[in-house]
Amino acid sequence: MASLYPAWSNTAYRLALFALGLGAAGLVVGPMIYVRTPYNTAQFEPWDQPVEFDHRHHARDDGIECLYCHSSAETSATAGVPTTAVCMGCHVQVWNTSPLLEPVRRSYFSGAPIRWRRVHTLPDFVYFNHAVHVRRGIDCQRCHGDVGRMARVMQTQPLTMGWCLDCHRSPERAAGPDPATPTPPRSAWGATFDMFTRHSFADRSITGLITCSACHR
């Protein structure tokens, strides 16, 4: 009597078993890969803004400091988007009739704010503080990319928790040269930092806070 199943059915069965295992693993691994894709983290998407503001022109060609417009980055948790009055500080003189600046003039004279689209978003349960990063010598570019080469600003870093922790675990990879004194006095906190950081960074009290409540409160 011929066998009920042809000989290749064993192979098919093994393949099916393998595919099943692969599928099960994929169900776990797939989402984990997905959340790390730029699609999910909203990277590299240049968004339209209500004003055709070109950072290439302002930040690179004209050499205007980031902090000239985003001034609260040094004092506040948020870097802040400049008020219309800051734009008009220059543009009452320069390009004051340009049609591209019509929304700015409208906002300035009516008092209605310009509705910018937020590009770098963190969840509401994350408390990021610009001031302490900027004042401790982290370059804007480190997290925001080379904005001076972007026509429309996009997010270049994933801004995920793992990405934050990468730097906080080894800040020497992130920090540039000390913005203030080369060797500030060692603070009472010095001991804290040896645990987390290399010695040179301990001197600057750049800490690798990796405890939950550093960001989640």
Binding site: Y34, A42, W47, S72, T75, S76, A77, T78, G80, V81, P82, T83, T84, A85, V86, S107, Y108, S110, G111, A112, P113, I114, R115, W116, R117, R118, T121, P123, D124, F125, Y127, N129, A131, V132, R135, R136, A180, P184, P185, S187, A188, W189, A191, T192, M195, S205, T207, T211, C212, S213, A214, H216, R217
Partner: protein, 980 residues
């Protein structure tokens, strides 16, 4: 026609309302199916895009994300307390005490903390109404401008201390020469001023210096929580008691006689429960004992001396009286005797006489002019009389809500109907608005300019932090309209007055600078009233007291009939704060009752009546009756029932609706504070009481240790079993950075609960409603556990603020399956909400039961205006997430960030938690263990320190100091030290 039927109001305040709608089986299945079907779609959404809307022009003093603080004042029944209010991006979000202000010294009350929520109350009135129909403010202004000069104009206000208001009233009288002002509050202090007038010939105000007083005798006076100077007095009293730094220290002694236990009574060293009506006899008895002891004030009429001789002490207080009198006589010039506001004038006069006899006047008690304007001026009774006589043509009721709060036998409602034009100005459309022809929304004090005097006379300023949310005029602007100003500005009025008050002589620039400095500070320096020489006309006073003594004697001793007494609620005051959910859900200091009031009675009376807590009783007196649930309160006077005011609002808003019972029908104009002759009968019904603490006894466990001073001296380390190391198998933890910790002194915690509301305001803690409390779902991160020790009629109370103890070996941390609760290197027990999946395992494993679970989406259901109050630096938790005290980690991290920017470490005292900042006595201290010399660290060295539930080996970072009572030696037998 009523202005608006309740069902037409937007239903916004769901969690504050009574019970959430049930979910039936069909509904549940539908929702389950729908959420399963939609579960996968979340990932397919496009990234949500937020908008950033910068201002078009720079706002002065504002940086986005950086809070700004302004000094202002809160006025309650005429007395100002200095506040510093924090605004975030233009929204006021938190009230703190003004550390420089003499009436605050940095502390606040629960009411002060909750005033921020009153600002955002969604039920606030939004427009001018004429006979219930929308009208315009211009129309009202035209009406006011057209009033004839002789228009029989009357104002009904709360008692006022504002110099600007007094000036405006003078201007109003220039236009309307016959204009009259009546002042009224349910918590009237006229008896205090009448008593002072009897003693000193004019209504002087007594300024107590508790920090100097070795012995204090409070006769029905809750001076630590419910009197105009309470916040300041709490700090002073605590400073004196804190001399107990070691066993050798002397904490002074507090004697209290009161009908129902209050925060003051719970801190007493020597307390007796006595009916309010017997307090007068007790004061006379005290004077008799002092006279007998040879300290009779010179000039006391022999007739009075004769009457005092052998004056019988009220029976339950005989032992208390002799011990207290001896104690007072031993500390002449270093004692304070004071009586409560609801006591009659004669009792206050007697107390002045006692203080004079003891030499306290001028030493521990200074007398000043009263802060209130015309404190003995016309009241509600005069207004009703004038209205009945047809003399009132126009009545303006501002702020007050007399149709709810006035005793019904005054006949105010009938009188109002006789007045052709009635204008009500208030934050809310309430009971009174509906009986008035016009209604004008008032601006909140955080929205208006003004001034007022503190209890000691300090001129304090009210500064707005936000434009009026719903239009509305301030009280001074309303008065200016009557003075002929069609569109007044409160700021201009205040500026003008200030310029005139500073005199024309000074250079304009100096006047300007002085004004700016005062507004920045919140008050004028050294503007408190100077002390007046205490000149008692003893012969006249003695003669006036003789008849009073006769009635006191006649009354004293009789057990029947039963007395009823009325007291302000520690949460909703007289009912004016009844629409603030935080306050309704605030456990009352002693009873822990939330959402309403109850007929409080002692265990003896309850046993005789055969009622238990929760049984509804019918209280009837002179043909008037109310029904209220009974609540047995240990330490309550026998033959007496007491009721808190503020329940049973009929037109108070959605939160206040249906909460508690209105004590009003039992009050009479003649006896608004207490009266004899109430009949109590059980009705057979039951009403559940929403009480947050089910058990007040420790049942032999040493949960909240306390002892007497003598025992403490004999054995200073009596808490040794509750501290020190314990063997453990757990691995050690690395401590890095400042180690945060808290110390709480239970000897000075009065249980006033300001910290509970402060925590709620700071940390975005929702309320759950009455049913939620009945289901034990309250969300308070900080509660005050009150432990009863001793017998039921003479209990001792220990208040123990209970919050996350931040255990170094925390039981919650081991059991979290997702690492949502972890330990930080600086000693905090962290809670990461976005990781929490809601297994509630941590809460089950927490021995202190301080973790709270979001059973519902409490925060998502809140009204938009309430959302404006939220602290942006604290995550708003959603359904299914565990939460708990964080030691205000947002404040710790903010200080750390600032200190790192400035390249230094956190300074001692730089981090202040919300509870610590609010505490009027300063019982809560926080800081880093490295900062030697701060109170937090110093207190932890005292031998009476202990850790709560130490035997479990959790190693809490929160340390308590045991309660030490100092009963007089001759009555030490009444203070048993066992912890039964």
């Amino acid at each position: 026609m009523p202005p608006r039927a309740p069902e037409e109001l937007p239903s916004e305040f769901a969690p504050g309302a009574d019970q959430r709608p049930g979910l039936d089986r069909r509904e549940l299945l539908k929702l389950t199916a729908a959420s399963a079907a939609l579960a996968g779609l979340g990932a397919c959404m496009e990234h949500p895009h937020e908008r950033i809307m910068p201002r078009s022009a720079e706002a002065p003093e504002q940086t986005p994300g950086v809070p700004v603080e302004y000094a202002t004042s809160m006025v309650l029944d005429g007395f100002a307390t200095g506040h510093v209010v924090k605004a975030m991006d233009g929204r006021p979000i938190k009230v703190e005490g003004n550390p420089e202000h003499p009436a605050s010294l940095g502390g606040t009350t629960a009411l002060g903390q909750a005033s921020i929520l009153e600002l955002y109350d969604p039920d606030r009135a939004r427009g001018v109404l004429e006979r219930g129909r929308p009208a315009s403010r211009a129309g009202l202004a035209r009406l006011i401008a057209s009033l004839p000069a002789q228009s029989g104009l009357w104002f009904l206000l709360y008692p006022q201390s504002s110099p600007l208001l007094v000036e405006l009233l003078a201007r109003v009288r220039r236009r309307h020469p016959s204009a009259q002002v009546a002042t009224d509050t349910p918590l009237d202090r006229r008896a205090v001023y009448r008593g002072a007038s009897m003693a000193f010939g004019r209504p002087l105000e007594a300024q107590y210096r508790f920090e100097r007083a070795d012995v204090v005798a409070a006769l029905d006076a809750d001076f630590l929580a419910a009197m105009p100077g309470s916040v300041r007095w709490s700090r002073d009293f605590a400073a004196r008691r804190r001399r107990l730094a070691g066993p050798g220290g002397d904490p002074g002694r507090l004697h209290v006689a009161e009908p129902s236990p209050t925060p003051t009574g719970s801190l007493a060293d020597h307390r007796v429960a006595l009916r309010a009506g017997d307090i007068g006899a007790l004061a006379a008895g005290l004077l008799a004992e002092i006279v007998r002891g040879g300290r009779a004030p010179a000039g006391l009429p022999p007739e009075l001396v004769a009457r005092l001789a052998g004056f019988p002490a009220p029976a339950p207080a005989a032992a208390w009286l002799s011990a207290t009198a001896r104690d007072l006589a031993r500390s002449p010039g270093r004692a304070i005797v004071l009586a409560g506001d609801r006591q009659p004038a004669e009792t206050h006069a007697l107390v002045h006489l006692i203080n004079q006899a003891l030499g306290n006047l001028g030493e521990t008690i200074a007398l000043t002019e009263p802060a209130l304007h015309d404190p003995l001026g016309p009241g509600l009774a005069e207004l009703v009389r004038a209205a009945a006589a047809g003399e009132v043509q126009t009545l303006v009721i501002a702020e007050a809500n007399p149709l709810y709060s006035a005793p019904p036998d005054l006949g105010l409602e009938r009188a109002l109907a006789r007045i052709p034009l009635t204008i009500h100005a208030s934050l809310h459309e309430n009971e009174t608005s509906r009986a008035c022809t016009w209604f004008l929304p008032l601006a909140h004090s955080l929205e208006s300019w003004g001034d007022a005097r503190a209890y000691d006379g300090t001129l304090s300023f009210i500064q707005p932090l936000i434009r009026p949310l719903h239009g509305g005029a301030s009280l001074v602007e309303l008065l200016a309209m009557f003075a002929g100003d069609p569109d007044p500005s409160g700021h201009a009025l205040l500026r003008d007055r200030d310029r005139r008050a500073r005199g024309e002589g000074g250079a304009a620039r100096d006047v300007e600078l002085a004004w700016e400095e005062d507004v920045r500070r919140g008050f004028s320096l050294h503007s408190g009233f100077p002390a007046q020489p205490p000149r008692l006309d003893i012969p006249a006073l003695g003669a006036a007291l003789v008849p009073a003594l006769a009635t006191a004697r006649a009354r004293s001793g009789a057990e029947e009939p039963i007395e009823i007494s009325f007291a302000p609620s520690h949460a909703v005051h007289d009912g004016r704060f009844a629409n603030i959910g935080w306050l309704q859900e605030l456990p009352r200091p002693i009873t822990k009752l939330t959402w309403g009031n109850a007929a409080q009675l002692g265990p003896g009376l309850a046993a005789r009546l055969g009622v238990d807590s929760g049984d509804v009783v019918r209280l009837s007196m002179d043909g008037r009756a109310i029904e209220a649930p009974a609540l047995i309160v240990p330490g309550h006077a026998d033959h007496a029932v007491s009721l808190e005011l503020g329940g049973g609002r009929r037109g108070g808003g959605q939160v206040a609706a249906g909460v508690g019972v209105d004590a009003g029908p039992l009050r009479s104009a003649a006896a608004p504070g207490f009266a004899r002759g109430v009949r109590v009968a059980a009705t057979g019904e039951r009403r559940a009481l929403a009480i947050t603490q089910g058990e007040m006894r420790a049942h032999g466990r040493d949960l909240a240790p306390h002892t007497t001073l003598a025992a403490y001296r004999a054995d200073p380390s009596f808490t040794r079993a509750l501290r020190g190391g314990l063997p453990t198998l757990l691995p050690g933890r690395s401590a890095v950075g400042p180690q945060w910790a808290m110390t709480i002194d239970t000897s000075i915690c009065s249980g006033c609960s300001a910290c509970v509301v402060a925590c709620q305001a700071e940390n975005n803690i929702p309320i759950v409603g009455r049913q939620g409390v009945l289901d034990h779902r309250e969300m308070h991160w900080l509660r005050i556990d009150t432990t009863l020790c001793g017998s039921a009629d003479r209990p001792d109370f220990v208040h123990q603020p209970m919050l996350c103890q931040h255990c170094q070996d925390a039981p919650c941390e081991y059991v979290c399956p997702v690492n949502a609760t972890t330990h930080s290197p600086d000693g905090l027990n962290e809670m990461t909400y976005n990781r929490c999946i809601g297994t509630r395992f941590c809460s089950n494993n927490c021995p202190y039961k301080v973790r709270r679970f979001n059973w519902f989406d409490y925060t998502g259901e809140q009204a938009e205006t309430i959302q404006l109050q939220r602290n942006p630096n604290v995550t708003v938790r959603e359904r299914g997430v565990m939460e708990k005290c964080t030691y205000c980690v947002q404040r710790i991290r903010a200080v750390e960030i600032q200190s790192r920017i400035e390249r230094r470490g956190p300074r001692p005292g730089e981090v202040v938690t919300a509870c610590q900042q609010a505490c009027p006595t300063g019982a809560i201290q926080f800081g880093a263990l490295e900062h030697a010399g701060t109170p937090m660290v110093e207190w932890r060295r005292e031998p009476r320190r202990y850790a709560a539930l130490h035997e479990l080996g959790t190693r809490p970072r929160t340390m308590y100091l045991a309660r030490i009572t100092n009963p007089p030696a001759d009555t030490a037998d009444t203070a048993d030290t066992d912890n039964d």
